[in-house]
Symmetry: C2
Subunit: 291 residues, 2 copies
Amino acid sequence: MPNALDPDAPLGVFDSGLGGLTVARAMLVTLPAERIVYLGDTARVPYGTRSAQTVIRYARTCSRVLIDRGVKALVIACNTVSAVALELLRAELDLPIVGVVQPGARAAVAAAEAMAALNGAHERLPKIGVLGTLGTINSGAYPRAVAQLSTRLEVVAEPAPLLVPLVEEGWLEGQVPELAVERYVTPLIRAGAGVIVLGCTHYPLLRNVIERVAARVAGRDVPVVDSAEATAREVLELQQSGRLPPAVHATPADRRLELLVTDLPNSFSSAAERFLGADAPEASQIDLKVI
Amino acid sequence: MPNALDPDAPLGVFDSGLGGLTVARAMLVTLPAERIVYLGDTARVPYGTRSAQTVIRYARTCSRVLIDRGVKALVIACNTVSAVALELLRAELDLPIVGVVQPGARAAVAAAEAMAALNGAHERLPKIGVLGTLGTINSGAYPRAVAQLSTRLEVVAEPAPLLVPLVEEGWLEGQVPELAVERYVTPLIRAGAGVIVLGCTHYPLLRNVIERVAARVAGRDVPVVDSAEATAREVLELQQSGRLPPAVHATPADRRLELLVTDLPNSFSSAAERFLGADAPEASQIDLKVI
């Protein structure tokens, strides 16, 4: 049973693995009174290479785990799930659900419009370049989300399948991530992208590389936006509009984030420090057999 | 129920994904009368980054699918499963089971001894260098398997986590695979490896790169061995020793291999051509919900 009426219930956040911690981190900052239960489906990561049908099945089990823990809302901190399963989960489940694609598209549109205003009317509008997993790009979710926000902005998209494994392995600097990023970013820039949206919650850890490569290929700075902060703000807006009750009783800072994983927690806990810093709590394993 | 007494029952082969097709291909050549049912657990690939506990759980479901299809023996065409679950599956299941670690270790020992014989008694014995997934390397399965075959040969091992994603993406040539391989092969060569065993069934598709990099780092040719052919020969030896009945009635060549996957078959079928050539059969999806 969803616990949507208890304002002190936690917010549930899930992702295939580590990447969604960038969203959880932004939520801890933007929503300082809220508790968060984060679920990383590490026994089945990655999602981005799988079919929509399988991603939907996995998303249902993750949602169920968090709802059984009494969360008052769900944040889908995974672009692939947001791209292929958000509408379905909203239809099936009786609590507020926020995805990352719409906030990411909003951030990208804002950046492109700011750029256009800066460049003046004589320059062509910058296109929005999307990097994402195969599942996210194939779904067409970003072009759809941008089209709802602007009729003038075009989207070009490029699947970047090697970036998730690079981030999961912590291989974030040096020639290999540089060359991999170059392979994915170059066609975006050549197709006219003037803004790049990181359409996968893993990619912010490669932001420095992506910014450097994009600037080199384009010959000028290319704004890079991600959905983490925009998603946290969307949860805040849900609260401000009365659709989600804010927490009444503050939780001590060191108990505001609970981490759950579906595989053994050891390597997740150490990797979580890359995302959250040394304050990252220990992760606990939940048993997939019972879900 | 296993169907161990029907000589015309197929051989069951499973892997986390595509890699085991290198073993299936070798079996089609070495066992020309046998039928093969191959299962790639594409909805849960990769296994190599997961805990032993999760790999065991996944291996049990794969074994069950194939046994329910009446196979007369199981070939575990995945080093990670062979390294962490082979003994357990042998204890639990009532049919002959062949893994890839012992055949791979045998091929490596034979290559190292051939090299030592060639070099003469005055040179130090070459060490055996193992590339594998984190799960395989952490299990210590290769050092144990080599120790059972030779008391003189030492093993050095290196986890190579990015190579599976590179092969799954078909990124097999160029600077990125070259640099990734260099990062993993260099410490092996520096530690004295004179032979390299490909401790993952995905890696034969990167064999050219691995051979080239190893020769450059070592300053001389380094034999590279894989377990595919040695595993097929181990199945043949099971038949020759009377522990597994050979097929009585030959199956037409174009119906000898059946491919099953747990995620949608589209991308698997096209990738299977990289392993099997244009004759690769279409893959069919089985529903994980019912297993």
